[in-house]
Point group: C2
Chain length 573, copies 2
């Protein structure tokens, strides 16, 4: 009883250090040990691409905490290069090995916190072990990639044509790496098995990123997967690998020659230790935990990318490998393990995430139409385009905001946003509303900051809520950007100058301001869709039609801007 | 019965145009007329300072809608320079005068929407009518001020010493004008009757703006009010005023010589028409309305700066002269007046507001400690300082965030934030949570965007929530920045280098990392306050003390950074 509580933590990154420091604050006299199998107990994993790209110049900035700093401030006993091999739940011990000394030992615990994280998925394919086929997950990976990129980009502007890089995977890491490698002067090709980047987003939203990538000379290969590499033998005196890859081979048979290949095709949770200890795993393969982050063994906690959190939109458990939830979970687990105090529970997670791709920011929270379909959730959605601050103040940039909601309860379920500025703010506001169970009406009534440099009296968030409420109240009907318009009367209300750049086949052109005087050009009894650039004028026009005897009128959500993205091959006249 | 509904709107700005366009969308066949006594039916009133300052170069950008554009798109009948003189509720008519033709007429209404706005308060003082003593509320004011500023600043860098401007009032308009005039090269003095700018904020928060203003050579005169002007006769062939002010005379007797004087001392609601029609006014002098913006006459609505909204933190009606609520109210009134459809109600207002002052952004939502005291609401508060995105990514800027909450229910009641970036985002998120009745625990659990350029896995919002929850759970106790520390054992846990720049008198210095080894330097039975730079290390240290037999330990909230602002005259050793 006089022995202090002993809290052992497996893994420093992905919530481990967060758990340890919180445990210390709650329990000054506990014996707290972190075991980390790699060299670094804590590092800025989200910052790694930006060190490779040169934005974060100083490598030491990636090392946010060291064993020394954690001992000095928190009296944490940090053991790096020390791997936990197994858990003995009966005796409440773990066996560990020190990779420097090769010495194995057994350590007693009262509470054990697992923060094993996840590892990059590396397919079993020819050439995968080549010295220039690399994943990015830790500092060692970063050093390895950066060394190659530095050598490649040092050839300079007067040198030979830029060296080639292939990035496999269009998720967050893939996009960040594509951007950073292009910024370093490499010729980058991005390969993604799906027909779009960020498959959680809706296609026409992701299409805006495709344009941005192409505008920065990143080549895109969609709908094709990696099957292996063509290789050539390596001078092993120069390298720890026997092969160098010369080209990526795709399922279609296409080969992509390059000098560097980055794999960003996802992660798998590190659950071997949990499995060995017979801890429960969930349906998505992560460790099952309760709201205190306890596994089915109440003395063993698990946090970070290896566990399943409750996903708010479906209220089911799933893996969500994001840093925010990992940090919050670590803190909660550390607090609970170290104390018998009343604790705050882990809240459900929305999967709020954001990525910068050159001049654009893109992100999402909660459900997209894509993920709603996958999870079998019935949603309606609207898309608006509005400036991030008032248009009359210099520097206004459009935000495209797609809102997803439950058409029955009017609860907001998700948002996707893309633009050059202010995207993260809108996502965070909507994420907050969703997490508190808010409705469209509450979204429309939000009292947000406004001064010309920061927003508008009617923020894009309000505009999206107003638009959705118009649909809910029957004042408007919206068709998705990719809707089948065949057989419909198509009314295009843009100006003549806009029309000159192309109009949907068969559309009737009447500028919105002339509509009231030219209603006789249209057939009121026909199902009608109104089209403009972004949807704003279309809505004005549809209200005119609906109040002039037109019985079935809809707007094309997001207008021609989103239509072109949703159906890029549609013929215009 | 076959006659269309007739909706008359008094005033185009401050919600009037918003009401009119919404009314049209709901009712295509209504007869909708806007009467505007000034020259412009709608203009960017929040943009006026930035046109004077030259950021918005093109004056036409201020005119967001014109009678022509409103007719073309919405078939609105806009009559500028036409003033409404009286309302006859019995006969449902108004009498109007056209200031061009001087013709008076009577107009029938079915629904009447009042959007009369508010007018600058102009004290009855000697010299107040001088040609260089000006308020800023409309386009004519803007033209007048800009003409003088253009003349003054055209003297250039090689010319005589900068001409002087005095801005009276440290509210939003006063701050924006001080910034813009300084940017134009004028020597600006800001006069405010209170001891701080933005009197709704807490003093130590506003003090950060004082530093920013002084760093940009704006002179500050606090606790002194305007009583009049010294004047000199004017060449009336050059001016429409007989006098030119040469100095502002303050209550203290101090005189401030200057060439231009801007009054920004608040607004009073334009309620004469409402009073004449015997519409109810509320306790704060604004027109009383219900959630549909109806006055006590259900056929007369009122919106904008002349009405009282429900203020969420107190659930009482008060005037809140902000553009966001005015626009939303206009939209709701227009919808209700034009239709018999189910409508969304006006939600309570938080007073969320933001201002840029040179390199800083400052804003607030809900209650500050100051306003809580004024309204008799019991609140607790915490202050944290955290970077707007991860520190390891270039360009991180600290945000100072003060959170106000109900210590009994743990509901969040308000936030104030100041920093160089990301301030509006944090305020909007917290405003959203407050509007949905959220608690500290919900704030701590928010799932927000994170990537290095946009935030941190633990956002400043989370840090503030964690800190407040520590207080709620008894893990920490916080003293306000201006607390009386006399008689307390003061422990300063900063480094020796930090201490060298000054320490509170009588403080004991032990760096946080050495504390556990030097506890014997302290008396555990004494009430103890722990001090560091911003509060972060102080909290770590206080946890050490609380778990080592110290019975009464508190942290100084916001550390020495906020202490110096709260008590600038306190002697350091």
């Amino acid at each position: 009883m006089s022995q202090p509580r002993r809290i052992l933590i497996v893994g420093g990154v992905a919530g481990g250090a967060s758990a340890a420091t919180r445990a210390r604050r709650l329990n000054e006299h506990a014996d707290i040990v972190i075991f980390e199998k790699d060299d670094y107990v804590s590092f800025a994993n989200c910052g790694l691409p930006y060190h490779i790209g040169g934005e974060i110049k100083d490598r030491s900035k990636l090392l946010v905490a060291t064993p020394q700093s954690l001992f000095a401030r928190y009296r944490l006993d940090v053991r790096v290069r020390t791997e936990v091999l197994s858990i003995d739940r009966q005796n409440k011990t773990i066996s560990v090995v020190n990779h420097n000394t090769k010495v194995e030992s057994t350590e007693r615990y009262d509470q054990l916190i697992l923060a094993p994280g996840a590892s990059p998925i590396v397919p079993d394919a020819h050439g995968i072990g080549s010295n220039n086929v690399l994943s990015l997950r830790n500092v060692a990976d970063t050093d390895r990639i950066k060394k190659q990129v530095d050598a490649m980009s040092s050839q300079g502007a007067q040198g030979p044509p830029p060296q080639q890089a292939v990035v496999v995977g269009g998720g967050f890491i893939g996009l960040e790496m594509a951007e950073q490698l292009a910024d370093r002067g490499l010729a980058v090709t991005l390969v993604e098995r799906n027909p779009q980047v960020l498959p959680l987003m809706d296609f026409e939203m992701a299409a805006m990123l495709h344009e941005e990538l192409q505008a920065h000379d990143v080549k895109l290969v969609f709908g094709d997967g990696l099957v292996g590499f063509e290789t050539t033998p390596t001078d092993t005196s120069q390298s720890d690998s026997t092969e160098t890859a010369t080209a990526a081979v795709l399922a279609s048979g296409q080969t992509l020659k390059a000098d560097l290949f980055i794999l960003g095709i996802g992660v798998r949770p590190n659950v071997a230790l949990a499995q060995q200890a017979h801890l429960d795993l969930g349906a998505t393969g992560g460790i099952t935990v309760n709201e205190h982050l306890q596994t089915n063994d109440p003395n063993i906690y698990a946090v970070g990318d290896a566990v399943e959190y409750v996903y708010r939109p479906t209220e089911t458990a799933m893996r969500i490998a994001l840093a925010g939830p990992a940090n919050r979970a670590g803190r909660i687990a550390g607090e609970h393990a170290a104390s018998d105090a009343a604790n705050i529970p882990m809240t459900a997670v929305l999967g709020t995430s954001v990525v910068r791709v050159f001049g654009l920011t893109a992100g999402l929270t909660g459900l997209s139409a894509n993920t709603a379909k996958r999870f079998g959730v019935n949603v309606a959605s609207v898309t608006i385009v509005a400036n991030h601050h008032v248009g009359y103040y210099p520097g206004a940039k459009p935000i495209t905001l797609k809102l997803t909601y439950d058409p029955d309860t009017q609860r907001v379920l998700g948002a996707q946003a893309i633009g050059a500025a202010g995207v993260d703010k809108r996502l965070d506001v909507i994420a907050t509303l969703i997490q508190l169970g808010g409705t469209l009406e509450q979204l429309a009534g939000l009292d947000l900051c406004y001064a010309p440099p920061f927003g508008s009296a009617k923020d894009p968030i309000h505009m999206a809520a107003f638009t959705a409420l118009n649909a809910v109240h029957g004042l408007a009907k919206f068709l998705d950007a990719d809707a089948d318009l065949s057989g419909m009367q198509i009314l295009d209300v843009r100006t003549a100058a806009e029309i000159a750049r192309g109009m949907l086949a068969g559309a009737i052109h009447i500028p919105v301001d002339d509509l009231r005087d030219q209603l006789d050009k249209l057939a009121p009894e026909k199902p009608t869709v109104v089209v403009c650039a972004s949807g704003l004028r279309g809505y004005v026009a549809s209200r005119v039609l609906m109040q002039n005897g037109f019985t079935d009128v809809a707007d094309l959500s997001g207008g021609m801007m989103m239509r072109r993205r949703a159906k890029p091959n549609e013929t215009l006249v």
